[in-house]
C-alpha cells in the first residue's frame, strides 16, 4: 500500500486515508464499527455474509464495505435506519436456522454471532418454522463439528487452503443444504485446528475439550508455545490449577501468529497435568537400587555432597552440565552460571539437534521476522521442512506466495509439500546441501557443486537470476542439514546476494522453542557437544547434571554411556530414557507453571507466563539450580523472581542489553534481541572446507521422489505428545471410527495405555 493519501468522507466527517485502503478497515480504524463475519484480514475476499453493508453516494445499492477500495472523494454513511435494517435482517437470516441454545454450546461466551445478537438486542423471533437439522459429529480426533451452527463465512475453508495449503475441509452441497465438511466425513490433515480457531460460531470445536469447561470459567494467561522455534503466542486457559485448553483467539492474544497455531501448540498440552508427572524428588541410594521418593532438602543435599566428592576425586571438569533447548533463557542462563562460576567446568552444553553457533557468530544481516517473511519478495529455502517443523514459518511462506505474490525458491533433497508453492525447485541429492551453499557463495564452483547435487548447472543459474531480479526483501532460510562451514557462509551471504534495492534477511530453522536462547545464554559455547560428553563418560566425564533429558539421537550415539557415570542428576517432568540411569531425579515445572522467556528463530524474546501452580512438588528449573548453588555455598540471590534473573541476563548478555520484563509485556509489540552483526569477512577457509567436502561427494546416487505425508513429523510421538491420546490415533494413521457421533478415542484402541487414557478422561 502506497504512502499516498486520499480524502474520504465517513458519516459527514473528512479523513485522509492511505491510497488503496479497504473501506471496512478504514471505518473501523476511525471508530465506526462495522459488523462482519466473512471478512478476515489477509484471506481471499468472500463478501458473502452481507453484514458489512454501507451506503456510498452515487452507488445504487448498499455496498459491502469489505469489497470496496477507497477512492478519492468517496462519501460514505455507515449508520442509518436503512443500513441498520439491512444488517439486522442479515443477522435475522443467519439466526433463522441457527439453534438458539447457546448454553449447551462450547462456543457460548466467545461466539461472535451470540455477541452480535446481544449487542443489538430487540430481535423479535419472526422465524417460527422448524429449523433444518444436522446431527453433531466428529471430523477427527481433534475437530468436533456441529453443522447446524454454521453461518458459512468459510473462514475455515480459507485458512485450511491459504494458511495450511491443505484444502482438507471444504463446502459441499448447495443453497440451504450447504455444509462444511470433507469427502466421507473424515478429516485427513495436519489437524492444526485453525479452522476451529477462526470459526465465529460453535460449528467447529476443539474435540479434545468438548463440554469440559465454559470459556468464562477459564483464567486466560498469555504465553509462548513450548514446541517449535517459531514461538507462537497463545492463551492458556486454566481452571482450578488445571490447564484446560490453549487457543490463539484474537480476543485473548494477538501475537506474531495472529490466530494461527499448529497441532502441537493447540492440542499438545495435556502433558502438563498428566498423571505420570513426577511427584517428588527421587534418590537412588545404591547403583542398581530403585529410585525412592525423597524430600527436596534431602535430594538437594544428596546432589551437593556427590558433586563435591566428584570434584575432589576427578577434578571439576569431570562434571558435565547439560541443558535443554526447551528450557527458558532464565534456566539456561543459571545453568551456564552454575557451570562456569560455581562448578568451574568447561563441559557444559544444551543438547540440541544441531548448533547454530557458526551461523550466529558470523551473522551478516538481521534475522527476518515472520512479518518480514509474509511481505518478502523472494524466499530462498535451503533444506528444512518448515510446514512440519516450523509451521508458522510454513504458513508465512505460503501466504507470501499466494497472497503477496512472492516467489519461493526451494533447494532440497526431498520434494517437500511447500514445493507446490515454489517458483523453482532445485531437487538435489541427499546430503549435498553444502554444495548448494558453495554454489551460491562462489559461482566459480557451481560446476562441481551441480555435479555433486546431481542437477544441471543451468538450474542454479536460473535460481541466481530469480534472486538477481528481486527488488525488495530476499529471505534466506536454512534447515539443519548444513555443516558449520556452510552455516558460516550462509550467515555472510547477505554481502554476496544483497544490493542497493535488495535487502537480505536471514532465517534459521532450529527445532526447539529456545534453541536460539540456549546459544545466547552461552550454553552452546562449551568444550564439548552432548554426544562427545557421553562418549567421554567414565573417561574424563564422571558426573552429569542435566536439566531435561538427552535427545534420543544423542543417547543413540552411545547406548551404555549413562551407566558408566559415577553420578547422574536429572531435572525432568517425566521418567525418561535418561532418568533410567539417574542417581537423583528432581521434578521440574513445565512452561505452564513458570515465568520466563523464550527467544524464537527470528530473535524475538517473548514471555512465558505462569498459568497454574506447579504440579505436585515440581519447581522451576532455574530455582532448582539456584537452590543447589546455595547448598554448595553460593547464593545467586534472585529472591525467587524470574524477572531478577532476566535483569542479570540483560546486564551480562549484550544482545539483551537494556531489556526488562515490563518491556516485554505487550505481545503485540514483540522485541527482537540485538545479535551482534559481523562485517563482511574473508571466508576462504570455510569455502575451501566446502570445496573439499563437495569434491569428496559422490557424483552419483539416488534422489528421493516421495513427497512426505502430512504429519510425518508433527504426529511423531515424543515424551510430551506421548501424553496426548489423540496423538496416538494420528500416529496410527488417523483411522475413521465406526461412528462419527462420538470421539474416536472411545472407539479405537491404539495401545493399552491409550485405552486407559480414554477411560480416565471419560469418567
Amino acid at each position: 500500500m502506497s504512502t499516498e493519501t486520499i480524502r474520504v468522507t465517513l458519516n459527514n466527517k473528512d479523513y485522509n486515508v492511505p491510497k488503496g485502503a479497504r473501506l471496512i478497515d478504514v471505518c473501523r480504524e476511525q471508530g465506526f464499527d462495522i459488523p462482519s463475519f466473512c471478512y478476515y484480514a489477509d484471506l481471499a475476499l468472500q463478501a458473502s455474509c452481507r453484514m458489512c453493508l454501507v451506503r456510498i453516494e452515487k452507488m445504487p445499492k448498499l455496498q459491502t464495505s469489505c469489497t470496496i477500495i477507497c477512492t478519492d472523494g468517496m462519501v460514505v454513511t455507515t449508520k442509518s435506519e436503512e443500513i441498520e435494517k439491512a444488517q439486522r435482517a442479515m443477522l435475522e437470516f443467519l439466526l433463522a436456522n441457527h439453534p438458539l441454545d447457546c448454553p449447551v454450546c462450547d462456543r457460548g461466551g466467545e461466539c461472535e454471532l451470540q455477541e452480535m445478537a446481544f449487542d443489538w438486542g430487540g430481535l423479535e423471533e419472526r422465524f417460527t418454522e422448524s429449523k433444518n437439522y444436522h446431527p453433531e459429529k466428529y471430523l477427527s480426533p481433534m475437530v468436533a463439528n456441529d453443522p447446524q451452527r454454521c453461518i458459512l463465512c468459510k473462514r475455515c475453508t480459507r485458512v485450511c487452503d491459504e494458511w495450511m495449503g491443505e484444502d482438507a475441509i471444504e463446502a459441499g452441497g448447495r443453497g440451504a443444504n450447504t455444509v462444511i465438511g470433507t469427502y466421507g466425513g473424515w478429516l485427513d490433515c495436519s489437524q492444526c485446528g485453525n479452522c476451529i480457531e477462526v470459526c465465529p460460531t460453535g460449528t467447529l470445536l476443539d474435540g479434545t475439550y468438548r463440554h469440559q469447561a465454559r470459556p468464562w470459567e477459564l483464567a486466560q494467561t498469555i504465553s509462548t508455545c513450548t514446541y517449535c522455534s517459531d514461538g507462537c503466542q497463545m492463551s492458556l486457559g486454566s481452571r482450578g490449577g488445571e490447564l484446560m485448553r490453549i487457543v490463539a483467539r484474537d480476543r485473548y492474544v494477538n501475537g506474531i501468529n495472529g490466530e494461527f497455531l499448529c497441532i502441537k501448540g493447540r492440542f499438545g498440552h495435556p502433558f502438563v497435568n498428566h498423571e505420570e508427572r513426577l511427584r517428588t524428588p527421587l534418590i537412588r541410594y545404591k547403583k542398581d537400587g530403585k529410585l525412592l521418593p525423597a524430600t527436596w532438602d534431602e535430594a538437594i543435599r544428596h546432589v551437593a555432597r556427590n558433586l563435591d566428592t566428584l570434584a575432589e576425586k576427578y577434578g571439576r571438569s569431570s562434571i558435565g552440565v547439560v541443558g535443554s533447548p526447551r528450557l527458558t533463557n532464565e534456566a539456561l542462563y543459571i545453568l551456564h552460571k552454575f557451570a562456569t562460576e560455581l562448578v568451574g567446568t568447561d563441559n557444559f552444553v544444551s543438547d540440541d539437534a544441531f548448533s547454530l553457533s557458526p551461523f550466529l557468530e558470523n551473522l551478516g544481516a538481521p534475522l527476518a521476522t515472520h512479518h518480514d517473511i509474509r511481505h518478502a519478495k523472494t524466499i530462498l529455502l535451503l533444506g528444512g521442512e518448515p510446514e512440519e517443523l516450523q509451521p508458522l514459518t510454513g504458513k508465512q511462506i505460503r501466504q507470501a506466495v499466494r497472497n503477496g505474490g512472492a516467489s519461493l525458491l526451494v533447494v532440497n533433497s526431498v520434494p517437500i509439500r511447500l514445493v507446490e508453492q515454489a517458483a523453482q525447485f532445485v531437487h538435489i541429492r541427499p546430503e549435498t546441501l553444502d554444495a548448494a551453499v558453495l554454489a551460491l557463495a562462489d559461482p566459480g564452483s557451481s560446476q562441481a557443486a551441480s555435479r555433486a547435487m546431481g542437477i544441471q548447472a543451468s538450474e542454479f543459474q536460473a535460481l541466481r537470476q530469480l534472486i538477481e531480479l528481486t527488488e525488495g526483501d530476499l529471505i534466506v532460510m536454512f534447515g539443519g542439514e548444513l555443516s558449520p562451514a556452510a552455516q558460516a557462509v550462509v550467515a555472510q551471504l547477505p554481502f554476496t546476494l544483497g544490493s542497493s534495492t535488495r535487502r537480505v534477511l536471514l532465517h534459521p530453522l532450529p527445532l526447539f522453542n529456545n534453541s536460539i536462547g540456549a546459544h545466547d545464554m552461552g550454553m552452546m559455547r562449551g568444550a564439548m557437544t552432548a554426544s562427545q560428553m557421553l562418549s567421554e563418560a567414565g573417561k574424563t566425564i564422571h558426573g552429569i547434571y542435566i536439566a531435561g533429558s538427552f535427545l534420543q539421537d544423542t543417547l543413540g550415539t552411545s547406548e551404555t554411556a549413562l551407566e558408566k557415570l559415577d553420578f547422574l542428576v536429572v531435572q525432568e517432568l517425566f521418567e525418561t530414557e535418561t532418568t533410567r540411569f539417574a542417581d537423583v531425579v528432581l521434578p521440574a515445572a513445565s512452561f505452564a507453571e513458570i515465568d520466563g522467556t523464550f527467544t524464537n528463530n527470528t530473535g524475538l524474546v517473548q514471555r512465558v507466563r505462569q498459568s497454574i501452580q506447579p504440579v505436585n512438588q515440581a519447581k522451576a528449573d532455574w530455582m532448582i539450580t539456584a537452590q543447589l548453588a546455595r547448598e554448595l555455598g553460593v547464593d545467586f540471590g534472585f529472591e525467587l523472581s524470574a524477572s531478577a534473573v532476566f535483569s542479570e541476563i540483560a546486564e551480562r548478555v549484550p544482545a539483551y542489553a537494556g531489556l526488562r520484563y515490563p518491556l516485554l509485556k505487550d505481545e503485540t509489540k514483540p522485541v527482537q534481541v540485538k545479535h551482534a552483526r559481523v562485517a563482511e569477512r574473508d571466508l576462504s577457509t570455510e569455502l575451501n572446507t566446502l570445496r573439499n567436502a563437495v569434491a569428496a561427494m559422490p557424483d552419483a546416487g539416488e534422489k528421493l521422489w516421495e513427497t512426505p505425508e502430512v504429519g510425518h513429523e508433527l504426529f511423531k510421538i515424543g515424551t510430551l505428545t506421548d501424553k496426548v491420546p489423540q496423538f496416538h490415533l494420528l500416529a496410527a494413521g488417523n483411522p475413521r471410527p465406526e461412528t462419527v457421533n462420538i470421539s474416536p478415542l472411545y472407539q479405537i484402541t491404539v495401545d493399552a495405555d491409550l485405552r486407559r487414557e480414554a477411560v480416565g478422561k471419560s469418567v
Binding site: 475476499l45 463478501a47 458473502s48 455474509c49 452481507r50 453484514m51 453493508l53 445504487p60 445499492k61 448498499l62 469489497t67 435494517k85 439491512a86 435482517a89 442479515m90 435475522e92 437470516f93 443467519l94 433463522a96 436456522n97 419472526r126 422465524f127 418454522e129 422448524s130 433444518n132 453461518i151 458459512l152 463446502a171 452441497g173 448447495r174 443453497g175 440451504a176 443444504n177 450447504t178
Partner: protein
C-alpha cells in the same frame, strides 16, 4: 408446438423448418457463413463491433445489456488470451428458445461465435450448455466437426489469417451457472458460485483473461446483423431495442411455441389471443409472466386493452420486463399463491448458498409458503413475506436474490385476494 415468426420475416428462425437444417450444406445453401466470409474479407474487428453497436442489439440472456458496448469493453492491448463464451445454460423457467436454435440451426451459432471471436481478437470459444441438454451438445459437436473439416474452424478460417477453435462444455444441473460469473467458475471446474464484479468478465473472466459471455440468441443474431447491416437490423425493431426477439410461449394458450417477433410488437393481448390462438378451453386470462420466472407477474388488467408493446421499454412501462422472453400464460384456474410458491421453491432449490440473504431467505420463504398452504396462514404473513423480500432484494451477492423476491412482491401486489384467502380473515396484505 409452433416455431416461427409473426409480424416480420423470420430471421433467426429462417432455417428451422428446412429438411436437415442442421447440415452444413443446407446452412450454406441458405446464406450460411456468408457473413463470416464478408467479415474475414472486408471488415476490421472495430467495423464488426460498430455494426453491432448500430444494430441496438441487447443481450437476450435476461440482463438486456447492449451487446456492442459489452464487446467494446474488452481491452484490445491485453497480452492475455481472450475468450468468447456462449451461455447456453437456458435454465430460466419458461425459456426454451436457445434449445430450438441449437437443435435446428447449430451452424448459425458457430458462425455468430466466430464473428464475435474475430471482433474481440479471441481464438477460443466455449459453448456452456446445461447438462440436461446433452442431445444438443451432441448436435453441436457434430456441427463443429463438420465446420472444422470444411475449414470454417481451426487454423486459417476460410483461408484467412484468422484462427479459432470452438468447444462445447457441459453443465451439470445448476440454474445459477447461467449467471455469467458463476458460469465462468463452473467452466473452470469449480463450484458454480458467482464472482465479485468488478472486475467484469470483459476485463478478467475465464482464467482471469478478458472474456465475453453472450447468450445463444444474442450470438445467433450477429450473422444477420452483418448481412443486412446494423441500421437495417435495428430498423426491424425500435430505436432502443433493435431487431427481433424470440419469445418462448408456454402455459394455457392453444398454441405454445417459440415466436420470433419484431421488437416493439404490439400488442400483447393480440399476441396471446390471436397469434397464440387464444386461451385453452376458452378460459379467461388471469396472469402473464412475460420474461421468464424472474420478472414481475402481470395481471390480465395490465394487458387487456392496454396495447402493451413487446419490447424493453414497453414491458417496463407495463410493470414488468423482457428478461429472457419466457412468456408464461396462466388462466383463471391458476391460484397465484400456488404459482408463486412453485417459483419460490425453484429459487430455494437453485440458490447457490454463497450469500446469507438468498440462502437463508429463500429457505425461510418456502417454509412460510408451506405453512400457509397447510392452512397455517396468519394475518401478518403477507407483510412478513414482503419484508423478507425487501431484506433479500438488492442485498444479495448476485441477482438471483432479486429474482427470488420480485415474483413474490408483484404477486402480492397484483393478486392480493389469492393471498388474503389463505390468511386469517383480518389478513392485511396491502403493505
Amino acid at each position: 408446438m409452433f416455431i416461427g415468426a409473426i409480424g416480420c420475416e423470420p430471421l433467426q428462425l429462417a432455417r428451422v423448418h428446412l429438411e436437415n437444417s442442421r447440415r452444413l450444406e443446407v446452412y450454406k445453401k441458405h446464406g450460411g457463413y456468408e457473413a463470416l466470409a464478408r467479415v474475414l474479407k472486408s471488415l476490421t474487428p472495430d467495423d464488426v463491433i460498430n455494426e453491432v453497436k448500430k444494430s441496438a442489439l441487447r443481450g437476450r440472456g435476461g440482463a438486456g445489456f447492449p451487446t456492442g458496448m459489452k464487446w467494446s469493453f474488452v481491452p484490445k492491448d491485453s497480452p492475455k488470451p481472450k475468450y468468447v463464451v456462449c451461455n447456453a445454460d437456458e435454465s430460466e423457467p419458461g425459456t426454451f428458445k436457445d434449445r430450438y436454435l441449437m437443435e435446428r440451426d447449430p451452424h448459425l451459432l458457430i458462425e455468430g461465435m466466430l464473428i464475435a471471436a474475430y471482433a474481440l481478437g479471441s481464438h477460443v470459444g466455449y459453448i456452456y450448455t446445461r447438462g440436461e441438454y446433452k442431445y444438443l451438445i451432441d448436435i453441436m459437436d457434430e456441427a463443429i466437426a463438420e465446420a472444422r473439416t470444411a475449414g470454417l474452424l481451426g487454423e486459417n478460417v476460410m483461408g484467412s489469417a484468422f484462427t479459432c477453435e470452438i468447444y462445447t462444455h457441459t453443465g451439470a444441473g445448476a440454474y445459477i451457472c447461467g449467471e455469467e460469473t458463476a458460469l465462468l467458475s463452473s467452466l473452470e471446474g469449480l463450484r458454480g458460485h458467482p464472482r465479485m464484479k468488478p472486475p467484469f468478465p470483459a476485463v478478467s473472466g475465464l482464467y482471469g483473461c478478458p472474456t465475453v459471455v453472450n447468450n445463444v440468441e444474442t450470438l445467433t443474431a450477429v450473422p444477420d446483423i452483418i448481412k443486412m447491416g446494423g441500421e437495417a437490423y435495428q430498423q426491424l425493431g425500435t430505436e432502443k431495442s433493435g431487431g427481433t426477439k424470440l419469445w418462448s410461449v408456454s402455459g394455457h394458450v392453444n398454441r405454445p411455441g417459440v415466436y420470433e417477433l419484431p421488437m416493439g410488437y404490439d400488442d400483447m393481448e393480440k399476441f396471446i389471443m390471436e397469434d397464440c390462438h387464444g386461451m385453452r378451453d376458452g378460459k379467461r386470462l388471469k396472469a402473464v409472466i412475460p420474461g421468464g420466472s424472474s420478472v414481475y407477474i402481470m395481471s390480465a388488467i395490465d394487458i387487456i386493452g392496454k396495447d402493451v408493446r413487446m419490447d424493453y421499454e414497453g414491458l417496463v412501462n407495463a410493470g414488468s420486463m423482457v428478461g429472457s422472453g419466457g412468456f408464461i400464460v396462466m388462466d383463471e384456474t391458476v391460484d397465484v399463491f400456488e404459482s408463486t410458491k412453485n417459483l419460490t421453491e425453484f429459487y430455494k432449490h437453485e440458490s447457490c448458498g454463497w450469500c446469507t440473504p438468498c440462502r437463508e431467505g429463500t429457505d425461510w420463504l418456502v417454509k412460510i409458503f408451506k405453512r400457509i398452504e397447510k392452512g397455517g396462514g396468519r394475518p401478518g404473513d403477507a407483510k412478513l413475506l414482503l419484508d423478507l423480500c425487501d431484506n433479500i432484494e438488492a442485498k444479495s451477492f448476485c441477482p438471483l436474490g432479486d429474482a427470488a423476491a420480485w415474483p413474490i412482491q408483484s404477486a402480492i401486489k397484483r393478486f392480493p385476494e389469492d393471498f388474503k384467502r389463505r390468511l386469517a380473515s383480518n389478513g392485511n396484505t396491502n403493505s
